[in-house]
Symmetry: D2
Subunit: 133 residues, 4 copies
């Protein structure tokens, strides 16, 4: 679904963040709520919703070519890691675990690449604006 | 990018909404801001941001299997249509026009399908929660 | 917390939407999750989250002086009404019921005032941008 | 507008984040777009929108009593500081400067208070869920 110009690491990280947002949101609001019990324990359920939220926010920063995106991606990686761990302990949440792990790695890379120059780095590639999802 | 269980019309509409959210957000915050002039005229720019916002909200309602999603999809279709028209008049915004048109149709269908039973319809298919983006 | 210029009906509706967003979000993620049982029944919990989401989106449309805000406010009023009813039936959710009822009325008024001219009406008052919350 | 139980530092920080979200969003989408010129320079305008976004996300984490909120508040403080500086240099943005400065301090305090125990700290006070805005 990427345009030819959108082959960069950042477009991939946006993909991973939006996929993790969707997987966590759909899982929390469907599987977890319908299963009940430990799936709606406050600690787990909050983490699912917080993970969905920060993934979307990190995507937003990258979509707008924010020079501050590395800061948000670093925070996003931490939340995704915690959410992936919580899903793994709960069991039967394989797609969430996978989405969280992939997003953690992607955001860690994005945070590290830009870490030394958070205010001077340019965001999305020229032409990236043309890239549909 | 759909899981086997996510073949429904609703999963397709979520795809279309998230694609339109991303295209409008990236175009507004990159191409429009960098081009300036008519691309940042208040009427046009607001419509781009409003379209991104309501597309994401419509996706959210569908992702959470809300029985009220038809109401939001109907509003989303109107905003997407207005945004597509504005992008077409402006020119050089083909990907936005296309994303808005596709999302308009998808949301109109979703609104119509459920229109007669906004409070009783069930949302996403069972298993849809497993669907990564 | 309103600036002198923010006395309009629209600024009041933004206030009511953001208050309802906050009350529903905090109640769902704290009281409901901690109480469990009927408070996390999928129908109720989804409505709480959907209400928080559409209230924030309606506020967003009004904050950006969108001429399409009436459309979103109309949808928001319906969701708030359904959420208020659900909270009332559940009991012990007085602050949510009150916030939903107030936001329903405010959004209905905003939808009605603009209904006849959704594309031509001007949004927030001049100077409203200066209004902190 | 705070309930008796909502007197904590965290409720104050939620107030400051939501006020900064609103001020930045309204200013960007009204004053900046209508003024044009340097007010819609990509660097400035993106910062306004990014600041609105991360303020809302930080509020969201605190509203849901996330033990990870300190991480997000620290990132939010950095974005608010950059946005406040950009508004100050631009001039005629006093309300934004003030909202950003207040939110920076509030988020720094929240980040610092919890910095040593980001995963074990409890979020909002008991009963805070009852607090309307």
């Amino acid at each position: 679904m990427l345009s030819p110009s959108a082959g960069s690491d950042m477009q991939q990280c946006i993909d991973d963040c939006l996929a993790c947002y969707r997987t966590c949101m759909q899982s929390a609001m469907n599987r977890c709520l319908e299963a009940g019990g430990r799936h709606v324990a406050p600690e787990h359920f909050r983490l699912m919703m917080n993970c969905a939220e920060i993934c979307r926010t990190a995507a937003d920063f990258m979509m707008s070519s924010s020079p501050l995106h590395a800061r948000i991606c670093a925070a996003c990686a931490d939340v995704c890691e915690a959410c992936g761990d919580s899903c793994e302990q709960l069991g039967d949440m394989d797609d969430c675990v996978e989405a969280c792990r992939r997003c953690t790695r992607s955001c860690q890379q994005m945070a590290g690449d830009r870490m030394g120059m958070p205010f001077s780095g340019k965001g999305a590639q020229p032409g990236a604006a043309a890239g549909p999802m």
